[in-house]
């Protein structure tokens, strides 16, 4: 039965084979981020008794990593800041200031447990973290607390991992 359509069959097979072969890529490039970010949310009270509200008035807040390769992150007016954690250690420190013109600074210390996770053959591994504690100096920051312990590459739930409360008098 197939014999009658033998040539058609071969053309069909050859076309399928060529298309299939063309689709097979030698090695796909890494297109996903290989670092996770910890999201810091700034909160503000104007007085001790007032309701807490999210602070969006930090016009140009800055975070600087206390690391072997120090880097400074500057932000436009925002209340959410993305910082990274060190996979080589169980803690890291970031220096925070509310504005470039501000001389007062605070150091935020984050303690955590890193965990290695296979991402893909193209991207290798990524580190996820489980936050254990957070502390800070108290020049600008009144207090800091962990809101979401797990720091992963899941951004669909918009996690705000750490909240920092700006001093009421500031």
């Amino acid at each position: 039965m197939i014999k009658q359509n033998r040539y058609l069959f071969f053309i069909f097979t050859a076309v399928c084979g060529i298309l299939w072969g063309a689709c097979k890529q030698e090695g796909s490039p890494c297109l996903t981020p290989t670092q996770v970010h910890l999201v810091v949310e700034s909160m503000h009270k104007t007085t001790d008794t007032s309701t807490v509200f999210t602070d969006t008035t930090l016009s140009y807040a800055r975070f600087a990593a206390l690391s072997p390769n120090p880097i400074k992150y500057g932000y436009n007016p925002s209340s959410l800041f993305n910082i990274t954690l060190s996979p080589n250690d169980t803690f890291c420190q970031w220096v925070f200031t509310t504005d470039t013109a501000e001389t007062k600074k605070d150091t935020i210390t984050l303690n955590y447990q890193p965990g290695r996770q296979f991402l893909s053959n193209a991207c290798g591994y990524i580190y996820f973290y489980s936050l254990t504690s957070v502390s800070s100096t108290h020049n600008i920051i009144d207090s800091a607390r962990i809101n979401v312990k797990s720091v992963t590459n899941d951004i669909t739930s918009n996690p705000k991992h750490v909240q920092i409360y700006i001093h009421p008098l500031y």
């Binding site: 039965m1 069909f12 030698e26 591994y125």
Partner: protein
Amino acid sequence: MCRYIYTLFISALFLFCSAPVFAQQTDTIAEEDTAAAKPKKKDMAGHQLTLGVDIYRPILNQLQKDRYGYELSVSYYTRNEYYLTMEIGRGGSTVDSAYLKYETTNEFYRLGFNKSILARDNPKDWDMMFIGLGLGVADIHRGSATFVVIDTIWGNNTGVIPANSFPAYWAEIAGGVRVELVKGLFAGWTARGKFLLNRNSFSELSPLYIAGYGKGDKNTVFDINAYISYAIRWDRKKKTVIDTSKQALAPTPAIDSTKVIVPATNGTKSMREARDAKSK
């Protein structure tokens, strides 16, 4: 683009397969109606053992420098258009990127059966279009892997994952075509959908490529093989037919009408009767 091509391919495959299937369905309904009247059709086809080699893999090996594989196929015709199939092969892969470096090799075995859905023109017609099911197992050996997590702020994190060996299991559905080009020499292809059953056992570092399966970090893989195969055939043993007509004509032993056989109702009574007869 690839997804579009796959869709096109699968659609064409089903379209190609559907005509004989529907034709067979109507045949089946018709046959069911007359099943009581007609005896079951006898399978007149002989034995067939087919040895094949995948000719598509060596071509892909040239196109894809980071992986390779080779595959042999054996199939045996049982009865009623069922074929037992076994495929064996080996292959490997090399990952060499800025993030990860390692090598794997593996052997694999697949066992399953195919059912031809194409009606034969005659008992010597071995062309077939088939669907099939199978199970596959691969024995994977991975060398030690070195990885780098690039971090421009805190410094790169590097490490070594020790070498490991582990199995992979998968189930597969298949469909394809075989055409006899000249007597005993076949060409054809098989498209397969494969479903990995134990991905969690190597989630620490999924192999780039598992020969016989495909990408190790995918739970579902579609693949195609193109085979050239050679068939060895022999006839089925003819069943010895016992001639019962002679037995039917043989004279039955004559019954002595003078002897009256009285059936015993139970054992004790018949013994008593025998004793009485002896005393008389």
